[in-house]
Amino acid sequence: MYTLKLNIRSIQLKTLKLQNPITHKLNMTTLLYDGSFDGLFTAVFEVFEYRYKEVEIVNKERFHQENIFAEIHEVITRNDKAERVLNKLEQHIGQSGIHELLKVYLSEHPESEHLILSAVKQSIKHPDENILQNYADSDILKISKICKSVSRERHRMTAFVRFEKMQDGVFFAKIDPDFDVLPLIRKHFKDRYQDQKWMIYDLRRNYGILYDLESCDFFYPEEKLDLHQYQQKFHDDENNYQKLWQRYFTKTNIVERKNLKLHVQHVPKRYWKYLTEKR
């Protein structure tokens, strides 16, 4: 039920070497997992299974050994273990709580594993409370902030995705979101566009969603998609509708009320290159 099998072809985060004070303690165990959501929760399961006290969970692909005294434990992803944690957790914090932890995971935040483990520990300790509401706790507040950022990015993607109709009739969109939100927008677009083929492709993480009128699945190309001479592959009408949209965008503006500060606040510049009306 919670098997979100996502290969995180992760970005090289520059902020990886978080100077977490516990990292430098002795008797520290480092759990390496494969980067998947189930892998992460298998690791969480094993923290309890082996009763590790001083522990950190690290994505294998982002691992650089810092603490030469740390003991390394490689986690083999087991869906049954992950599901046991998630099912238990669901009883405490509900499905919406699990969804929040999923967002933390998708944020690719350097502390995401630490925060999720912290939330699980707190939840086990206080099974009768929804600990995700304890905003005075610094980890929980961080979770709530990350969720807010991820949700905002998700919402922006539902708004800022711009499809371009290609010669073969597929509506194609390129995105480059700050967080890995594709899994969060799949349902939105699947519900909305059922009578046209479409594709949303994450340029940074090199994977996408493809809907072919029957199924709507993730795809992981071996190499980056070839976007060479992209515009030559447009459908005949495409440029016309883009022009109409650009003219509409200009004309619906009230010049007397110009407020560029507000404009940029709502449509940050980093999205402009993908917005038809801002090109």
Binding site: Y135, R192, D237, Y241, L244, I254, H263
Partner: protein, 419 residues
């Protein structure tokens, strides 16, 4: 299709429609049917923002800007010498569908100048919505303008296909309307509004009994008032808004600062600035009524019928009711926490749930998202609060105003700059 001609029409008719503020696409509950196009998102989506910072959610156009009326405040008034154009029903549906497929918009907001008479115009608007729903299988958002004086039969049909219907009151007072739009009368606007309101109520009743009842304007009704074209005061405007929220169950009232576009001796001169700050204060008051539990009478008192431009209406209320402060975060009820300046709905909710776990202090408050620069003067913490001494200071207001700078300060200064 002749794209050049279509582009020209779109330019004229988008330009003429832009003064309608509403672009909301929220409240639609229409779900996609199998294999069709479109699905309304309950929260609404702004797909982009214009350079004036307004949300673009819908394709907002007029069907035509030909109009038999000569309302002083309107660019499309019959005596104005401008380019006129009219879309065909097919052109509007084609634009809507093609924009929607590219994820540019949530749907269509169709209004129109009045040609021939009310019913002919309304009938044409309904025809667009009907074609989109029945022929194009479109389940996105449709907002239609109700034409003042349109017959009940057409309103009935409009509500079956549209998500939202709206009639703009335009001028808050009846005397103002008589002055600027002598051919229109208020009753013609109220009738269709009342009809839709009753229809929605009836739908809700039937829904309790039958499982399947055809949708009837599921996103409700809204209206809009122009601010600053006539000499009404803010208290009158708020009272009108309150009246319509209560008696017509409106989802939204929009306020549109008058943009001087036409020279007319009944109107403010062309050099008048758009009253953006006043408009903002009206929206803040509107929010206080809808989300903060304020009553219209609490926002302004009859002796001071204009909103304070220097401080926001909630702070203004607090300054007039200092005896109700400080508020204890640990024990006060939610309604009172909402009334603390600098604390919004989300923060108030977070406070109420976080205080069950521990005693809150100033540091927590900041992290929970409150605007502490204002809130700190009004809150009594268990651990004490040094800022409370200012509450009784006679320069308290000055202190507050000095401690924050308005986001409008430079951009929309009330003072005209010389250069």
């Amino acid at each position: 299709m002749n794209f050049e001609r279509l582009k020209e029409k779109l330019e004229i008719l988008a330009d003429a429609a832009k003064y309608d503020v509403s672009c909301s696409s929220s409240g639609g509950t229409r779900k996609n049917k199998k294999g069709a196009l479109g699905d309304s998102s309950v929260s609404g989506i702004c797909h982009t923002y214009t350079e004036d910072g307004r949300c673009v959610s819908l394709l907002k156009i007029l069907l035509t800007n030909h109009c038999i009326y000569d309302c002083a405040y309107c660019v499309s008034r019959s005596s104005n010498d401008i380019k006129r154009a009219a879309f065909t029903v097919e052109e509007v549906t084609d634009l809507t569908i093609n924009f929607y497929r590219r994820n540019y918009i949530e749907g269509l907001f169709l209004s129109s100048g009045i040609f021939k008479n009310a019913d002919t115009t309304m009938e044409r608007l309904v025809r667009v919505a009907k074609k989109l729903r029945l022929e194009e299988n479109f389940n996105g958002y449709i907002h239609l303008k109700s034409i003042p004086g349109a017959s009940d039969e057409l309103m009935q049909e409009a509500a079956l296909y549209a998500d939202r219907l709206s009639i703009n009151l335009e001028i808050p007072t009846e005397s103002g309307l008589k002055l600027l739009a002598p051919e229109k009368n208020r009753q013609d606007m109220l009738n269709p509004m009342k009809y839709i309101q009753n229809g929605i109520a009836q739908y809700k009743d039937e829904k309790k009994i039958f499982r399947k009842v055809p949708k009837f304007a599921p996103a409700g009704q809204s209206t809009q008032m122009i601010v600053g074209a006539t000499n009404e005061n803010d208290l009158q405007i708020i009272k009108v808004a309150d009246h319509f929220y209560k008696n017509f169950n409106l989802k939204r009232v929009y306020y549109s600062g008058y943009v001087p576009v036409l020279e007319d001796k009944r109107l403010p001169s062309l050099t008048t600035e758009v009253p953006i700050l006043r408009e903002n204060r009206l929206y803040q008051s509107d929010w206080l009524m809808r989300f903060y539990g304020f009553k219209a009478e609490e926002i302004l008192d009859p002796n001071m019928p204009f909103l304070d431009l220097e401080v926001d209406p909630k702070l203004s209320w607090a300054l007039r009711h200092l005896h109700q402060f400080p508020v204890n975060l640990q024990t006060a009820d939610y309604q009172m926490i909402l009334r603390i300046p600098g604390i919004g709905v989300k923060t108030a909710k977070k406070i109420v749930s976080a205080r069950r776990f521990q005693v809150l202090n100033m540091d927590h408050l900041k992290k929970l998202g409150a605007a502490v620069n204002r809130a700190k003067y009004f809150i009594d913490f268990n651990a004490g609060n040094a800022y409370l001494k200012y509450l009784t200071d006679k320069n308290f207001r000055k202190l507050l105003v000095g401690g924050s700078s308005s986001k409008f300060h430079n951009q929309f200064s009330q003072q005209l700059s010389l250069f």
